[in-house]
Symmetry: C2
Subunit: 350 residues, 2 copies
C-alpha cells in the first residue's frame, strides 16, 4: 500500500477534552508523519475552532459535520442504532473504504459494538479481541484479549494467538515473535480446559507460530514472550492488576520520601533518573488499544489522555495500516481451518 493512501478517520468528539486534545493530537502525529491524511468527524464549528491553531493540518484534514456524539453513559445497544454520531460516521468511513483505520477516544463499549456491527468480523475469525502494547524490562510485548470476551474457548484463544503474532510483527517489528498462553502454572495440565485445547490447536496447525507454551503473569515482565494470549476476563484482571500495583508502588515511594528529610535532600539528585523512568513507563506511549479481528482497524485511545497520547494511538494505527495488518490476517487464514483442528483438539485433550 502506498503512503499516499494512508487515510485515518477520526472521531473528534470522543474523550474527556474533545475536540481540543484530538485536533492537537493530529497536529503532533502530522509533524512526525506527514503522509497520513485525516477524515475528521464532529461538530464542525468546534472542530474548526481548534483546527485554526494548527495551520499545517489544513492540507491533510477533511472535516465532516455530525450533529451528535456518543456519550460516556450511552449503552452500546442504543448507539448502534444512531448513525448520526461522529463515532458511527468515522467507523463507517472505514467500511466504505474511504479510510483504513478509525481512532476514537470515546466510550469503549460503544466503539466495540459499532465497530463489530459495521466492519464485521474477518471470515474464519470467531471473535474480535482487544490488544495493546505493554512494557517489559527491556522492551515491549503485546497482550490480548484485554476485555472484549469474558468467556473464551480454545479456538478463540488460538485465533488470538494468530492475530497477536501478526500484530507483534507489524507493530513491534519482531520477526518471529514468541507466543505464550497466560496460565497459572507452567505444567501441561495446569489451568483451564480452554487453555489446554488452545495449546493443542496451536501446536497442530500450520500457523508456524513460535509457541513457547504457558506463561505465568510474574514472568511476563522478564522478557520471556512477545505475545501473551489470554481470555478477556483474565487479561483484563492482569492489566488492571499491573495498573493497581504501579499506583501502589508510586504511592509508597512518594510516602516514604515525604516522611524522610534526608530523602528530600537527596531528591534533586534523582530528578534526572526519575524523569527518564517516567518516560519509559509513560502510559501515553502505550496508548491505543486496538480491536483486532475486524475488516478494518478500530483503535481506542484512552479517554483521559492528552494530545501526545492521542498522537501515539494515531501513529500506531498508521503503522498497522502501512503494514497491511488486516490483509496479513486474511492471508494467514487462507489455508487454515481452525474449526476442524479444534474438533480434533477436544478429542486429544480429553
Amino acid at each position: 500500500m502506498s503512503d499516499k493512501n494512508l487515510v485515518i478517520s477520526i472521531d473528534a468528539m470522543g474523550g474527556d477534552n474533545s475536540p481540543g486534545v484530538v485536533i492537537e493530537g493530529l497536529a503532533l502525529a502530522h509533524k512526525r508523519n506527514d503522509k497520513i491524511r485525516f477524515l475528521v468527524y464532529g461538530d464542525k464549528e468546534k472542530v474548526n475552532a481548534e483546527m485554526v491553531k494548527f495551520p499545517a493540518l489544513r492540507d491533510v484534514c477533511e472535516v465532516f459535520h455530525t450533529e451528535e456524539s456518543v456519550k460516556n453513559e450511552d449503552k452500546p445497544s442504543h448507539v448502534i442504532r444512531n448513525r448520526a454520531t461522529s463515532m458511527y460516521q468515522a467507523i463507517e468511513a472505514v467500511k466504505l473504504g474511504k479510510a483504513q483505520a478509525v481512532v476514537s477516544a470515546g466510550n469503549t463499549g460503544a466503539l466495540m459494538a459499532i465497530s463489530k456491527m459495521v466492519l464485521k468480523t474477518i471470515q474464519k475469525i470467531h471473535r474480535p479481541a482487544i490488544i495493546s502494547i505493554m512494557p517489559h524490562e527491556n522492551g515491549r510485548y503485546v497482550m490480548l484479549d484485554l476485555g472484549a470476551n469474558t468467556e473464551c474457548d480454545g479456538i478463540n484463544l488460538a485465533e488470538f494467538a494468530l492475530m497477536g503474532n501478526i500484530y507483534a510483527k507489524c507493530a513491534l517489528n519482531i520477526d518471529n515473535p514468541r507466543v505464550a498462553l497466560m496460565n497459572i502454572g507452567a505444567e501441561e495440565m495446569k489451568g483451564k480446559e480452554a487453555i489446554h485445547v488452545a495449546a493443542h490447536i496451536i501446536k497442530n496447525t500450520h500457523l508456524n507460530l513460535n509457541f513457547i507454551g504457558y506463561i505465568e503473569p510474574h514472568e511476563i515482565p522478564r522478557n520471556k514472550a512477545d505475545v501473551i494470549v489470554a481470555d478477556g476476563f483474565s487479561g483484563n484482571i492482569a492489566l488492571k492488576s499491573v495498573e493497581g500495583t504501579c499506583h501502589l508502588m508510586t504511592h509508597m515511594i512518594k510516602k516514604s520520601i515525604k516522611e524522610s528529610w534526608m530523602a528530600k535532600l537527596g531528591l534533586p539528585f534523582m530528578m534526572g533518573a526519575v524523569k527518564k523512568l517516567k518516560k519509559t513507563l509513560d502510559p501515553r506511549l502505550y496508548n491505543g488499544a486496538m480491536f483486532v479481528g475486524l475488516n478494518g482497524l478500530s483503535v481506542k485511545s484512552h479517554g483521559g489522555t492528552d494530545a501526545l497520547g492521542f498522537s501515539v494511538a494515531v501513529e500506531n494505527a498508521a503503522k498497522l495500516v502501512a503494514k497491511d495488518f488486516v490483509g496479513s490476517i486474511r492471508r494467514e487464514l487462507e489455508n487454515v481451518d481452525l474449526d476442524e483442528i479444534s474438533q480434533e483438539a477436544y478429542y486429544e485433550v480429553y
Copy 2:
C-alpha cells in the same frame, strides 16, 4: 481457648533450606510469643543438630522422627498415599487433636492434597480456598482464592466471602470487613455468571456481610475493601501480576539510577526511605498463605523464605488458632443453607 493449648505442628523438612530455616523460624516465633508449643516432624538427627543452636526451644518443642519427606517434584496423587512423610505426620497431628494448626514450607500441591484428605472440608463448605494477607496503600487486606480452585461457581465464591470475612476479623482485627467480589467492571451485569450469582447469594443470606459489590483490580490497592473474593484462576493471575509488576518497577528504578551519576550521588540520602519502603512491602511479612475451609488450619510458608518469613507464618497460624477461626466458620454456617439460597439465586439472575 487458653494459650496453654496453643500447639502447632511443624513440617521441618519442607522448603529450600530445611530444617535450618524452619528451626530458626520457630526460635524467632518463640521469642515473640512464648505461649506456642511445637510438634516438630522431620529427620530427628538433622532437626536436633539445628535445635541445639536455640536452647530456648527445648522446653516448647517436641521432635518426632520421620523417615521420609515430600519432594518438590512429588505428585499429589503419590504423596497422599505415603503416611511416612514429615508433612503427612504434621497434618495428621491436627486431625488427631494434638495440634490446632500445621505449618509447612513444602510442595503446595502436596500440602493441599494431604490437608484436604486428612482434615476434610468443614460441613456445608463445598471447597477450601487459599487465602493470604496483602498490602494496600495504608494497611492490609485479605484475598482468596489464590489458586486452589481453577473453576468456581457462585456458591463457592459466596463461601469464600463468608470465610474471608471471618479471616479478616481474626487476622487483621477488622470489626466489620468490607467484602468485595473481584470483577472486570463495577456495573451489575459485568463479568461472569458465577460472580453475579455470588453477589445474589451474598445479598440474600443472613450472613450479614458488609458487601460492597464488585471491585476492579486497579482499585484494590486504594483501600476500598478488606476482603477480595475471586475464583482461584483469576485470583492467582492477579497475585502473580502484582508480583511481576513489583519486579518490573524495581528493575526499572534500579536501572535508571545506575545510568545516572547524579542519581548515584543522591542515593546515600535515600537509603533510609528505601529501607523503610522495603520493610513495608517485605514479602516475608505477608508470608503464610492458608487453606481455609478445612477442619483445622493448614498454613503454607513460601518455600524460599528465611527464618523471619517462617516465623511470620507460624505467628499468623497461632493468631488464627487463638481466635478460633475454624470454630467461627462452623458457627456462622449453623443457621445458613447456602445450597438452598444458591438455587434461588440461579432463578433470580437468569
